[in-house]
């Protein structure tokens, strides 16, 4: 009775659409905060289990194979194309200002600092993250997770920890592969197709791209891998019933991971630039 009176009072103060709009947004904010809190607890439990008991080889190795070995070809292929696309895109602009010989520095810098890790993470989120959410979601709706629990296995320890380890430990390898193939693709298109001088291309790359740039890319990739695993497993564990629920979990796993990857990328770039400036105020390179 009191809630009806309250609603009537509210709607008499505010026009109905405005009242509904505010209430919808309020509900969305509360939901988002609850999801965030829930995800934080989920991550905490995952870390606790990771240090409490190391998962069995039988649960780790298939995940390593799925995340690492099976992702390698697609990461290598997309890395090659990205390197070539960068060469195509940059060439005309740099030629207009007479700096086409510097193309190697631009392509390789962009690749190792930004595109390599982000591309590897995106491919991992699309290929592995959504599959993780779909598999765990299906296990949830078919009571397989309940069955695991009822037999004395902790589902976070058994299902989430191996996936998390596979993602954070193998994403640096995938990033290195994306970097390497991107560099090869960029070199091939610039030197072979666009006839840029081989020596100038490599010399400029060596001059501008240093160890710190590689370190940045690899360092960021650990965070990307961890984010993909946690978001995807969380989405799978909290999947709604039915085929539509599993589909939604898989889509949400990719979308959430991708948005978070870009957000984390921005924060880490700002942080790492500040670290670099603090360690080398004169702009010296790590190697």
């Amino acid at each position: 009775m009191s809630s009806v009176t309250q609603a009537e009072t509210q709607s008499s103060v505010l026009p109905e659409p405005v009242y509904r709009w505010i209430s919808d947004w309020g509900e969305m904010v509360v939901d988002a905060l609850m999801t965030l809190g829930d995800m934080a607890i989920f991550s905490w439990r995952m870390f606790v289990w990771m240090f409490k008991a190391w998962p069995r080889k039988g649960t780790i190795l298939p995940n390593f194979y799925h995340v690492g070995v099976l992702s390698l070809p697609v990461v290598a292929l997309t890395g090659t194309f990205i390197g070539m696309v960068l060469a195509v895109q940059s060439f005309v602009q740099f030629q207009n200002i007479g700096l086409e010989s510097r193309l190697g520095a631009v392509i390789n810098m962009s690749l190792v600092r930004e595109l390599g890790p982000v591309l590897a993470a995106t491919m991992l989120a699309g290929r592995v993250g959504s599959a993780m959410a779909a598999v765990l979601g299906t296990m949830r709706v078919t009571e397989q997770i309940d069955a695991l629990t009822s037999m004395g296995a902790n589902p976070i320890h058994y299902l989430v920890v191996p996936r998390f380890l596979a993602c954070i430990l193998l994403i640096p390898a995938l990033t290195i592969m994306a970097d390497f193939m991107g560099i090869v693709g960029g070199y091939f298109y610039s030197v072979v197709m666009l006839q840029i001088d081989h020596y100038q291309y490599l010399n400029n790359s060596r001059q501008f791209v240093g160890g710190w740039d590689f370190f940045m890319g690899i360092f960021k990739s650990f965070f990307f891998g961890g984010t993909i695993a946690i978001v995807s497993c969380y989405r799978g564990f909290h999947c709604q019933a039915g085929a539509e629920g599993v589909g939604r979990a898989a889509t949400a796993a990719f979308v959430f991971s991708f948005v978070l990857i870009l957000g984390i990328d921005l924060i880490l770039n700002i942080f790492l630039d500040a670290v670099y400036a603090a360690i080398w105020p004169q702009g010296a390179k790590l190697f």
């Binding site: 296990m139 397989q144 309940d146 009822s150 037999m151 296995a153």
Partner: protein, 298 residues
């Protein structure tokens, strides 16, 4: 302390353990959001008893089972297993305790990613109980006990029929020799012959090892055949104020002569006025506002 006094203490302890009910629910209430599923349930299951829980769909039978095994935490009240409150246990203690439970899920809940053999072996491997030849011998024995040949162990769950999957689920639940077996609609979706095979298996399980069993079913043949005691739950939303949610608790033989019309109706499978009630509540809930009308024409 003398030897005789030690023996007396141990005997007293054993007698005390034997007299403690295996499962005890004390004023257990379970709510989701604002919906009450189970309200103030009090139930005691002594060791070795086979209790069948019946009741119409949505009355909270599965939730009751999941609360007992610790998969769902009740909103209030206690769930005791051998005198210990399971919802106050830590992760490690709970994991150890779950070795004493065997749970047969409604759709078997076999792991798709594993073979049948790996499914049955899972609890043994998980708790480091057996490996190598001993493990494979146990798997073959357990599969044979439920009437499945050894060559099934290399197949995937998707390759088996519903009845075979249920039997694998039973073999997996029994592999750790549990003290308490929980069955969630074990005969649903099976033909009459296979249903009776499952009934026989449940009875053999009890006769062989004296396992305490809690069975949820809609199948009155199963209830009458395997139960020592039948408990009927009624949906909380349809109870009269102050009424208990357990509307029958007694021997299976007493079901037919029960004075409660709702029990008789369920046992005989008669809809009675139920359809009229459902239609009335559905028509009463009609919402003809433009927002709802638009929902379907979009």
């Amino acid at each position: 302390m003398t030897d005789s006094s030690t023996n007396v203490d141990l005997d007293a302890l054993a007698a005390d353990q034997a007299s403690t009910p295996l499962v005890e629910l004390r004023s257990m209430t379970l709510q989701f959001a604002k919906q009450t599923i189970l309200n103030n349930i009090n139930l005691t299951i002594p060791r070795g008893q086979t209790v069948v829980v019946i009741g119409e769909s949505g009355c909270g039978k599965t939730m009751l089972l999941k609360s007992i095994v610790g998969l769902i935490k009740p909103t209030s009240g206690q769930v005791l297993f051998a005198g210990q409150n399971i919802h106050q246990m830590g992760d490690v203690e709970m994991t150890r305790l779950r070795r004493k439970f065997g749970f047969v899920f409604q759709n078997a809940a076999l792991f798709d990613s594993m073979t049948i053999g790996q499914n049955v072996a899972f609890p043994l491997v998980q708790h480091n109980i057996a490996s190598g030849r001993r493990l494979s011998r146990i798997i073959s024995e357990r599969l044979a006990e439920v009437g499945l040949p050894d060559n099934v162990s290399h197949k995937r769950p998707a390759e088996l029929s519903g009845g075979m999957r249920k039997r694998v689920g039973l073999a997996r639940a029994l592999v750790l020799n549990p003290e308490l077996m929980l069955y969630d609609e074990p005969t649903t979706g099976l033909d009459p012959i296979m249903s009776d095979v499952i009934n026989e298996l449940m009875m053999r399980t009890r006769a062989g090892a004296g396992v305490t069993s809690l069975i949820i079913t809609h199948d009155m043949r199963t209830a009458k055949k395997v139960a020592d005691r039948v408990v009927m739950l009624y949906p909380f939303a349809r109870l009269k104020p102050g009424e208990s949610q357990i509307i029958y608790d007694g021997a299976p033989e007493g079901l037919e002569s029960c004075a409660d019309k709702r029990v008789k109706q369920f046992v005989n499978g008669e809809a009675g006025e139920r359809l009229m009630e459902l239609r009335k509540s559905a028509f009463d809930g009609f919402d003809e506002t433009p927002a709802v009308a638009d929902k379907y024409s979009r």
